[in-house]
Symmetry: C2
Subunit: 423 residues, 2 copies
């Protein structure tokens, strides 16, 4: 672990690059790499990514409908009607829900119509019930005139046949599924979920259910990463704990690369473990290592590589560092593989909060500071959660984090910071 090359690598910062530079290199190498597509019934497509744009096959709605309870009229018959000078129309019948109207509206006449009822022939507007006064069963007083098209949704007003309903790359939200249902689309072509292999490396790691002997530690990262993969739209595949002996580790990673769309391994944060990670990624074949560490705290020793078109991430062993690296590098790569727009069309939202104490950083490095939020008058106080990056409880106690960017050497107490929430 103390070989000069390794020592130099940790000491000299020449190998470290900035977070945006590392993200760019990674995404450039993933350009055009997406997983295969599959066809799914609409009811199963929720939260999947659309692989092809969908055009509306027909007008929605197919016919003009009333948007109010009231009377279907010829608008011209009501022109100028008011409380003081109402007009009177003969009620010649009623539009029923669920069937085509059989009656039409003649001059001086109207039909009762419920919300959602189809506009009958002859009518071009609806007068709301609230603007009418009943006279008797066959006569109604209109106390407000309407223009043609009032209180209607026109044929194709929601969406027209041939118009794009949804673009490719859209993560299907509940309302997107609703739109497709409204258009009668029964199956959709979506990307399958990327399969992500998760390996924990290190002879000291034991399954979390086990009882550690002195020097052993439980596997925290595999489950944490599985949860993060799931939230990012992937299918996590737990490939277990692998020895950090090269002769065992390399075959295990090679197999993982062959069988999955992405591979994550998390290892010790020692120089020795990091060297082995680099060696193994390099041995997987070109393009090999893309990023040898970043100017990020925590998360500096992250390794990013590719074997063919499969991204391979060597994440730091400390759970906090592993999660930070996931958010900055793994999640965007997973979104790209999954066919989603990268960068996302909308920014991550945040909560402004008042920082409870001076927080230092180093220029040229991005710091990710975990905070707990406490109500503070009408706003929120962000209290940095003390604790080392090996401490998983700091992540569990934190409500979110803020960033101190590369240009800054710290943030003074009482500054307003943008807190990104852990959800």
């Amino acid at each position: 672990m103390t070989e000069p090359r390794a020592t130099l690598d940790m000491l000299g910062r020449s190998a470290l690059i900035s977070v945006p530079a590392a993200q760019q290199i990674l995404l450039d190498h993933l350009a055009g790499s997406t997983v295969d597509v599959c066809s799914l019934p609409l009811a199963e497509a929720f939260d999947r990514v659309l692989a092809q744009p969908v055009a509306a096959p027909e007008d929605l709605p197919a016919q003009a409908r009333s948007t109010m309870d009231g009377f279907a009229v010829r608008a011209a018959d009501t022109f100028g009607a008011s409380e003081s000078m109402p007009c009177y129309l003969s009620i010649t019948g009623e539009v029923a829900m669920g069937t085509a109207p059989t009656l039409s509206v003649d001059r001086g006449c109207c039909l009762r119509i419920p919300t959602g009822g189809l506009l009958p022939a002859g009518a071009d507007a609806v007068v709301m019930l609230e603007h009418t006064v009943p006279v008797d069963e066959s006569l109604v007083e209109m106390v407000k005139g309407v223009g043609a098209g009032s209180n209607l949704i026109q044929r194709g007003e929601d969406i027209r046949a041939g118009d794009q309903a949804l673009p490719a790359g859209r993560l299907l939200r509940p309302q997107d599924i609703g739109l497709l249902a409204g258009l009668g689309i029964a199956t959709v072509t979506v990307y399958r979920r990327p399969r992500v292999a998760i390996l924990a490396t290190g002879d000291e790691i034991i399954p979390h259910e086990g009882k550690p002997q002195p020097g052993q530690i439980r596997n925290i990262n595999s489950l944490t990463l599985a949860g993060l993969v799931r939230r990012a739209g992937g299918l996590a595949v737990d490939c277990g704990i692998v020895s950090d002996r090269r002769d065992l580790f390399l075959p295990a990673i090679t197999r993982a690369v062959a069988e999955h769309d992405m591979v994550l391994f998390s290892g010790g944060s020692s120089v020795g473990a990091r060297d082995l990670g680099e060696e193994v990624i390099a041995a997987l074949g070109p393009p090999g290592i893309l990023v040898h560490g970043v100017t990020l705290k925590p998360g500096k020793p992250v390794l990013i590589g590719m074997s063919g078109t499969t991204p391979v991430f060597g994440l730091p062993g400390h759970p906090v560092s592993a999660m930070v690296c996931f958010d900055y590098f793994v999640a965007p790569a997973l979104h790209r593989l999954a066919g989603r727009e990268v960068p996302p069309p909308l920014p991550e939202t945040s909560l402004p909060a008042r920082l409870s104490r001076n927080t230092n950083s180093a220029a040229g490095r991005r710091d990710v500071v975990r905070v707990r939020l406490v109500a503070d008058g009408d706003g929120w106080l962000a209290e940095p959660v003390p604790g080392k990056s090996g401490s998983i409880s700091t992540l569990s106690r934190a409500h979110g984090y803020f960033e101190i960017d590369e240009a800054s050497q710290g943030v003074p107490e009482n500054s307003t910071v943008k807190v990104f929430l852990y959800r």
Copy 2:
């Protein structure tokens, strides 16, 4: 559909109450109502709600560990060491990963130690590799002194045996699962997911895969609501399309109440459909109808009731109104049934945006305005998405919404609004 009682009910606002009042009535009636609990292996508990607090069964870490690659030392041996006046220590061996150290650190001596290595007996600190200069295999120069405890994580520093690791009601995020894994917790007690029956009512509604005849419309709401239920942590059960004839509708709802934890039906927005909804909720038995409509646009005609301890929601038939009512009323009720903290411990985050045009509202009513976001210099422009509440495409085109509260009659162009994103 034009009976005087019903007309009066839609005209007279006496039956409408504010959104916060309706939420309070609903949540008061749900106090203490949660679904049953079950026991799950930790790997399956992601995104479930913890039913009991979890205390740490042991110290984490179980023993002091190094957080750096370097040398385990007696801190006193390094006091005062500096670049200009280094101290020298004899290297008497190495701490290996994964096993208890067999060697101890004597005065004037040190052991090589990797990140994560257990602190050997005799040592009380670690000097980072970066602050040392190798002399030979058995001697190292220390160019910086350390205090006791430096570069270590102490036994129990992450969390102490007996301390609360997680509170009841916590939605288990990836890092919470990680913390439980670190503590060796193999199974957890969580609430089961609430089962939510979804019915679409109306003789004009047909399955979305079908071909509508004139006057018929496809079922949009059942799938949209299923997606929303899933996002809110429930299990959506599609109970199909039910006639709005009372003799068919009441038995269907009665069965749904008996077999589920919550019932949602969405019906036409006509007075007749609304009357039937009220009648049926009342007929299900006490406490019956709790809320007969709210001062909310869209969403005014929502019906909220309870049959015994089962909440029953009559949602407007218009998809936009149904989704707004889901967000304001169904989601908080579902969270309470699911055992989650209500109101949530943290606010929903939003994105500030500049409003593209004057947007009117009525005093005494909350308006929910769907917007599309467009990049606008460094910020965002919020463009209201025109379209009626029956238009599902407006929801699909919208990135989110902002609220115009009860006290306001509108928001002028160029105001900054808080946009809540649809994710």
